[in-house]
Symmetry: C2
Subunit: 339 residues, 2 copies
């Protein structure tokens, strides 16, 4: 068992800097495309055997130091009763939106082992196969709420903020319900065998710090606090969250995820005694080898004072990234950090 | 002449905090919609009489302390030879893209008084009417380049970064050409009578700081340096640029524009002896009066140590904002800052 990733999360000494990439089981891999070609995205998410197959691909092909459960943050929203579909090129679409008390009341708090049993089954199957640690995950409540309120992806999140600013009680009610469901969901993942848990707050960065503090942060803290008992490293990733870093550091997470917009050295100075995960621009994987090597070396140097550093991209790997470039980055991180 | 805005830009004492709003002449105003109903967006931009009419609307209706020339940052790109159109609901679209040397070579450096004479004419006409200062503007080169490279708006800017990372000489060549055209364009605006100039870097925030420093910042500095001779306040707004603030402060701008993601007090501590402009979340204009008042009061308090503060939104006003709420915000800023 390669436990380098877990040791880095805990701030323990490692022989080299571990690396994994957000969305590492994804469309940039022809092997993934092949599996995905026969099923819809949702069918894939609900088939433990196929999830196991695609989760393992980047470990076997690219030598990543951690695996992340193949799933989607909105799977839990569907289990809560929101009718979800994925349209090619358009992303997730909900048939209904949650913008009033009646639609909020219709959402349920599902039993994770029943409603999302396929996720727990995937975790159990993966644990038999993997030689690296398995990361479970969920969306952070604010991020999940935006999809329910907007009915899918959004550019400016008008409906989300309208609800937040004009019906704060309703907004908090929605956040509480998602939080409760997320706690049960992540606890079940830990019980099923996930060895680390990441909370993805993809849209936290659309909030002013004062609004984040009031409308999003308390729920992040509540979830992370509920997971302490499982003694697995907790990672919180607030995307585009450079101005929210002090919150992330105090959230209860062991590891603070960083997007690419901040110099990792500045981030480390601000998060204090926390491990960090990140943060090369995913598109910088297109750099020619010499420049990619320089950039990775600089990032490793800048991160040397971190309590722990897990190398990652600052966002999910882009579908047009050549797999060979991803492999090159993994090899360079391993090689340069072993010196 | 109400010169409160100009005095705040220069860090001089003012009787109250001046306010204007990005995109204040825009779709949220029924009076704007009426003018726009008869012409396309591009026709409007090219009609000095209509531009004057819509530029004056928020001054007359909402009592703003500064006017901003009604135009679009891509007008200059069109004058450089890129065929521009605006599609309803889809934003700007260029019929061709600039991704190779041949298409770069086709771009010209236009004489601003000829190719964009309608802009200079609008400025001259406005100067006869206005009782508040007039702000001229252009897009920053990186932001303009993204539109030319992508062929319009983009979600992830894959083509832009691909060009930047794989063909840096070509990318810099494009930046140099846009920079040269922008210098002439803004100098012409100053000669025509613009009393302040703002450089909009709407997409600077997609860059890692190291890439911003290499690919975008030198051109911002070059443009701002070329405008010093006109002795008008220079404003630089790097949207989503919380991690770029130290660059903004050293860019040569007199005023640093701030989006809503950063606490203005933190920003002021980082930009030092510069005036700041911003930074309430545009959607916070939806707050009920008591909460809006509290938020504005807090922002004014947080900004009290700034060398100068121009109140503004952290981004353009949203089209669904009730004009009465915008008016309320203007009145509150005037009232609360006069105490």
């Amino acid at each position: 068992m390669n436990d380098t990733f877990l040791r880095a999360c805990r701030g323990e000494k490692t022989d080299y800097t571990p690396i994994w990439m957000m969305r590492q089981a994804g469309r940039y891999l022809p092997e993934y495309q092949k599996v995905r070609g026969n099923v819809t995205f949702l069918e894939l998410c609900k088939s433990p055997e196929l999830c196991v197959e695609v989760t393992l691909q980047p470990i076997d092909l690219l030598n990543m130091d951690a695996a992340i459960l193949f799933s989607d943050i909105l799977i839990l929203m569907e289990a809560m009763g929101a009718p979800l579909d994925f349209h090619e090129g358009k992303g997730p679409v909900f048939a209904t939106t949650v913008r009033d008390q009646a639609s909020l009341d219709k959402l349920i708090i599902p039993d994770p082992d029943e409603a999302t049993g396929f996720v727990m089954e995937t975790i159990k199957l993966l644990k038999k196969e993997l030689k690296v640690p398995l990361i479970g995950f969920a969306g952070a409540p604010f991020t999940c709420a935006t999809y329910l309120i907007e009915g899918g992806s959004s550019k400016v999140f008008w409906e989300t903020k309208k609800l937040m600013f004009t019906q704060p009680e309703l907004f908090h009610g929605l956040m509480e319900k998602i939080t409760e469901a997320t706690i049960l969901y992540l606890q079940a993942q830990a019980r099923a065998g996930a060895q680390a848990l990441q909370l993805f707050d993809s849209w936290a960065g659309i909030l002013a710090p004062c609004d984040y503090e009031e409308f999003a942060y308390p729920y992040v803290r509540k979830i992370l606090a509920s997971l302490k008992q499982y003694d697995v490293p907790l990672i919180y990733f607030a995307n585009n969250g450079a101005t929210l870093l002090e919150y992330s550091a105090e959230s209860g997470a062991d590891v603070v995820g960083l997007d690419w917009r901040i110099n990792i050295k500045d981030a480390i100075a601000r998060v204090g005694n926390k491990a960090v995960q990140g943060n090369i621009d995913p598109f910088a994987l297109l750099l020619p080898e010499d420049k990619l090597k320089n950039r990775i070396q600089r990032l490793l140097d800048d991160a040397k004072d971190a309590r722990g550093h897990i190398f990652n991209l600052g966002h999910g790997i882009h579908q047009f990234t050549p797999p060979a470039q991803a492999k090159l980055a993994v090899d360079l991180v391993h090689e340069l950090s072993s010196k």
